[in-house]
Symmetry: C2
Subunit: 767 residues, 2 copies
């Protein structure tokens, strides 16, 4: 059936309207949960004091970050409008971009806003009897608010676009997904740099040099460290998961329309609405029973809601879809496919749900404190820091391979379901992504748990108002948070791979539409620019460049943390040197100064990786063609998934290896072995909380940029390479922006270093 | 012109015979140089004593390693013979495999044999007046012997195969290249584990725990450390570069035949013969003038011989090739190509030569002691080991991106020369590889320089027979060696990318031949197994798995070193504990025991990565099809080049950052900053000398395995998937072998750790 004949019946409008109502209901639940969290007592005066300082720092940072990004969003809005396409759809896409970006920012802001208020309430709960269950409940409910908001806003946005644009919705949704991904990437990178610069800086001077505990109020970087947890782990992560949600949904809708027409556009929304329902269920059934660990309760909540989600999705498939592809009105040719759409759709969703469960388990195995890999890393601390670093890298590499292998196996499984039809396979991959996302509400709640309990512990330590039993409760909650954070990263990168794989299909679709419009393709170089054949040397060049972008992006993020942490080390050392009263508790350190440095540095540093991600695909696409650009995306996905999991899991293993030693193994706190694991943990900090998680939005931003520019690339290169100079010109400008940003960051960094050096020398001279 | 009509005229026989004579002449020169090296005085009795111990350890290791590998080679010989193809060619290919493997082993053995004899001679030269020039001369000539042998044996082997099999030569040469690559991979991995286990183990106990200098005779691991330099950096590296040489030449011959027929088969041999000539020139013109650094002399030798090589290759192209592709008899359709074959061939060779020069420069920039990146790493030592590790990783990532980008740019440049013809582009890529290889003689000489001078320093230190001035000379030579080693790795990986890109073409060729034989291809899953389209989900799965194999291989190599080094640490500690006389020079440590542990562990550990490399492509090819296998190779190349350079350059930067601090910056030897850089250097050891360099042969082994099995995969999957069960069976067996090896190494490792633990506990109890 040719395109344009897809109808969008009244039944579909009703269904989508109901879905929009479910989304609104999810937001309503978020509001109720929020009230519950805020109703808890907010601690002693000292706690409130500290909480206040953290709140102010976090809000100030996010406000400045969003102000910086508004400019960027305006430029992208204009550029999007310049791309070829139908006028109404183009405007809709640009407006949807703003909504996607706005929602992403709003979720991030909300996550941070609530987390900074929940921290003190969790700390306060630990001072009361029954504190363990009460603290876990507040922390998990805080996550619930963010989770329900992610689900609600994502679903509402998509449903509204489908209601307004019906069969034209996919093109408009590209803008929505792109906005969400772009903003999430900036929030991940900026927040990630802030949090780890503060953390590393605080640890290097406090723990290592001065031998004072973490979160000691004498350390000028502690407030910044706590602010960082909120802007990085809460705001950044919430935006990131919203983006995963939005982009996967967008991919499913685009491919669903192609494969199944009207029903293909509505079914992914139904699956996701089921996800909203089970997320709510998950948040409410997760309750710590008696003395069990918080992790047990969270895992139970996850598995129960996953099973219910899978069952409901199966029911929905059989209730909503017909029994044969012949009865569907997709544009893709599925006439040869004999499978039952209900069966394959339900199985694809099931594969996604199972994938989430397996990743949960594998990540837990590689980073858990009671499992062999992390115990092995801890054991190497007896031979020093170098072996700790090496064994952690080994664990990271290995776990990356297994996790990537599992994701690959899931894609292969889905592919087999499709029986050789690429169009159907791509849609089913996206559906598996939706299946994975039915668990996202609980996942967000799990993830938010981490920074909230971490911060609560910090506030308790700084205020000194929590007794030993309460402190132990908070330490336990914090350890649970470490594992849940690692799991979320695994799930997030899995959604990235599934969404990116599916978007590959939309990309090919966009290219073939554009090709149909330009008519005959010549031979020679133009043909090679359009070839998807992986054995062409330029496609291989694309693969290499895609992988290289991931390496460069990771390197930039790690370097940014190292640089910013260095600045903080010098500042904290200066305060200790110039104000000896700090060590004796007679003087109060200038916390604000460190927060300012973090804010300034992370805002400065987030621009370069952002420009790289947005402009590298443009340079490759216009410079080498759509085939090599596909290679670029494949290289970025392949290298990206491995790098992201490597960075997340080696970081997690180091963090928990340190905890193992701190719990008394291999010499315990203060031993050489402990010092060795502290070095490992510090190396892991920017791995797991800055570079690693940012790769997830990076992959999607690059995919969406490629999807958006593909028609323009085709239009400009065919026929006969008439616009040769224009094409090369665009590629060169894009390359100049991407690499100019990198070069500029180098120059600026070395200028900064020179100033820092001079200041240090001056300080040394006065001592 | 259809295949089979390519003629191989008398003129070509004469030309190839002359080339074989040139190759023999190169071997003759190697023999002369060898006599010159051995004629130098071989030092004091003490030096000879130590040299003897190193020689024995190294020979014993290599002999045991080769014995282990003979079995492996026999199995592969049989498997090769089972693959489909013409009987005579199949036998020739299997025999050529043995020759390739034998030559690779012989070159490795020769490199080691001579290096252990040159060491004492360089150390002895440093005791005499004019020692700097004399020492550099002996070390460089030793490299010259290896370089001329690499060039001579590679060229001789290829020329003889062409003489015997003429137009059937390419299929036979696949066996030659595969043998060379497979053996080189094992020698790189085994030697790499040996050398770094000994080095890391020696440093951890000696430098870090006991505070005695490197190469102190009281350290039981010093002899093993010196043995390691010879079996890893000399034998492994020589085999590796021989393999680069052989595989690139093989790729050029295969593609040359397709693109240009008879002349295409002969021209790459001519270019390589020119390389043999300029290598000889390079070895003889490299002379240290007055007080200049050894590096200046080496660089001069490199650049002069590169320029002469490029000019001669240009002359040869214009003298030998016709002015139009119509006059050539290749099987590929180049009728639309209007370019002048002489011009494009000469330019492709030139691009290769320039690429070598640029990589030389970039690597020097990122790892040089007087350049900003390494100085920056050294500067972070003021904030501790964690920042040293992080900044080194940052430098590694960044340099990987630039080097990969430069290689990608070279491929793009070559691609543009071909004007859109993929067949021609692939041949030109291979020719660029040959251009790169004209510099390989000098490169090998440069690389061998490193371990020889490192060992000479060790022998001087241990013997105590070298005065301060002599020691300074050897230290300077050693520092030069560090940089030349990093450069060689960059060049080696560049040849890997070019050869692998070119082999991609042979792969596609093999697949289409096989497809022509099996007739019609069905639809459905079979079609998707044969699709090269990068946007197919299973091709993307291939890309992910290819990258994953590189990660797993690297992780296994690093883990192996960590484990083996741990065993050595425990042994050296035991000797210090049980024989307190060692510290007071009253007792002699049991050097042989540590050599034995290194030998045992590295032989055990090299099997797993070897099986993984050989069987992973088989599993992917038979399991998913030839399209996904192409994706697998692309993923392995893309991730592999980045990983290899990252590992090599971050390791180089850490090593030299340590040297910067040792030269007195940031506190100098014994300061906290120094301790921090020692940790960085130790992390870098297995990066740069075990995992990193082994990726080069890994990529080629996997490419050649894919090339060899592609016809069998097609034959078994088409038509109609008749042999479905057999295909899946083969894939499962291959996957079981690859991953079984990994799992088995895990189990064994944990059993070993348990024993080690028990021994430690027992030892502690007796103290």
């Amino acid at each position: 059936m040719p395109e344009g004949e897809i109808v969008f019946g009244a039944g579909s409008y009703t269904t989508v309207a109901v879905i929009a109502l479910i989304a609104a209901a999810a937001l309503g639940c978020a509001f109720v949960l929020r009230r519950q969290v805020l109703a808890a007592p907010d601690g002693t005066a000292k706690m409130q004091d500290i909480g206040q300082a953290v709140q102010e720092g976090a809000s100030a940072y996010l406000r400045r970050q969003l102000r910086t990004l508004v400019l960027f969003a305006a430029v992208v809005f204009a550029l999007l409008f310049l791309l070829p396409g139908d006028g109404g759809v183009r405007l809709g896409r640009s407006v949807a971009f703003l909504f996607g970006a706005g929602f992403s920012a709003a979720i991030g802001y909300l996550g941070m806003w609530l987390a900074v208020r929940a921290n003190v309430r969790v700390a306060s709960a630990a001072t009361r009897p029954g504190g363990r269950a009460e603290g876990a409940r507040i922390a998990f409910r805080t996550g619930g608010v963010v989770g329900m908001s992610v689900v609600g806003l994502g679903l509402l946005g998509a449903a509204l676009v489908v209601l307004v644009y019906d069969v034209e919705a996919p093109a408009v949704l590209e803008g929505f997904g792109f906005g969400a991904a772009l903003l999430a990437m900036f929030m991940r990178v900026g927040g990630g740099i802030f949090t780890k610069a503060a953390d590393v800086g605080a640890d290097l001077v406090g723990k290592v040099e001065q031998g004072i505990p973490e979160d000691d109020p004498r350390n000028a970087a502690t407030i910044a460290d706590n602010v960082g947890d909120n802007v990085g782990d809460c705001a950044g992560m919430a935006a990131d998961l919203f983006e995963s949600y939005a982009v996967t949904l967008v991919a499913a809708l685009i491919l669903g329309k192609a494969a199944m027409g009207e029903q293909g556009l509505v079914f992914p929304l139904i699956v996701t609405a089921i996800g909203a329902f089970v997320a709510l269920l998950g948040v409410f059934i997760t309750r710590v029973r008696g003395n069990e660990s918080g992790l047990t309760a969270i895992n139970r909540g996850f598995y129960v809601s996953a099973v219910i989600g899978a069952v409901l999705a199966g029911v929905a498939a059989f209730a909503y879809l017909p029994s044969s592809f012949d009865q569907l009105s997709g544009t893709a040719d599925l006439s040869g496919v004999t499978a039952d759409p209900r069966v394959v759709s339900a199985l694809a969703v099931l594969i996604g749900v199972v994938l989430a469960g397996v990743i949960l388990w594998v990540t837990g195995y590689f980073t858990g404190t009671d499992k062999k890999p992390t115990l092995g890393v801890a054991a190497t601390s007896r031979t020093g820091a170098a072996t700790v670093v090496l064994s952690g890298i080994g664990v990271g590499f290995e776990s990356a391979v297994y996790t990537a292998g599992i994701i690959a196996a899931a894609i292969c499984g889905v592919f087999l379901l499709a029986g050789g039809s690429i169009s159907l396979a791509l849609f089913l991959v996206a559906l598996a992504g939706c299946g994975l996302l039915t668990t996202v509400g609980v996942i967000v709640a799990m993830d938010t748990f981490g920074p909230v309990s971490d911060n609560a512990q910090g506030i308790a330590e700084m205020s000194g108002d929590v007794d030993e039993e309460g402190a132990q409760i908070l330490t336990d909650l914090d350890a649970v948070g470490n594992t849940t954070k690692a799991i979320t990263k695994g799930i997030a990168i899995a959604t990235a791979v599934l969404a990116a794989t599916a978007l590959f299909g939309s990309y090919a679709d966009a290219v073939s539409h554009a090709l149909a419009q330009v008519g005959a393709v010549g031979g020679g170089l133009v043909a090679s620019m359009l070839s998807y054949e992986i054995i062409s040397p330029v496609t291989l060049v694309g693969v290499i460049l895609g992988g290289a972008t991931v390496f460069l992006f990771s390197g930039l993020a790690i370097d940014a943390v190292t640089r910013a942490a260095g600045a903080i080390v010098f500042e904290v050392r200066r305060q200790f040197r110039e104000h000896p009263g700090i060590m004796t508790f007679d003087e109060r350190p200038e916390y604000g100064k460190v927060v300012d440095i973090c804010t300034r540095d992370s805002l400065r540093e987030l621009v370069t990786p952002g420009l790289l991600a947005a402009f590298a695909p443009i340079a490759v696409g216009f410079g080498l063609g759509v085939g090599p650009l596909a290679g670029f995306l494949a290289g970025a996905i392949g290298t990206g998934v491995l790098m992201a999991i490597f960075l997340a899991n080696s970081g997690g293993a180091w963090d928990n290896a340190k905890k193992i030693v701190e719990d008394g193994k291999f010499g315990g706190k203060g031993s050489d072995a402990h010092a060795a694991t502290v070095i490992g943990d510090t190396v892991g900090d920017p791995f797991k909380d800055t570079a690693g998680p940012a790769i997830n939005p990076l992959i999607k931003v690059m995919n969406l940029v490629a999807l958006l520019i593909a028609p323009a690339v085709v239009a400009i290169s065919v026929p006969e390479d008439a616009n040769h100079a224009l094409r090369i010109g665009i590629a060169l400008v894009a390359a100049a922006v991407a690499f100019g940003a990198v070069a500029w960051s180098r120059v600026r960094a070395s200028r900064l270093e020179a100033t820092e050096e001079a200041n240090q020398d001056a300080a040394q001279a006065t001592v």
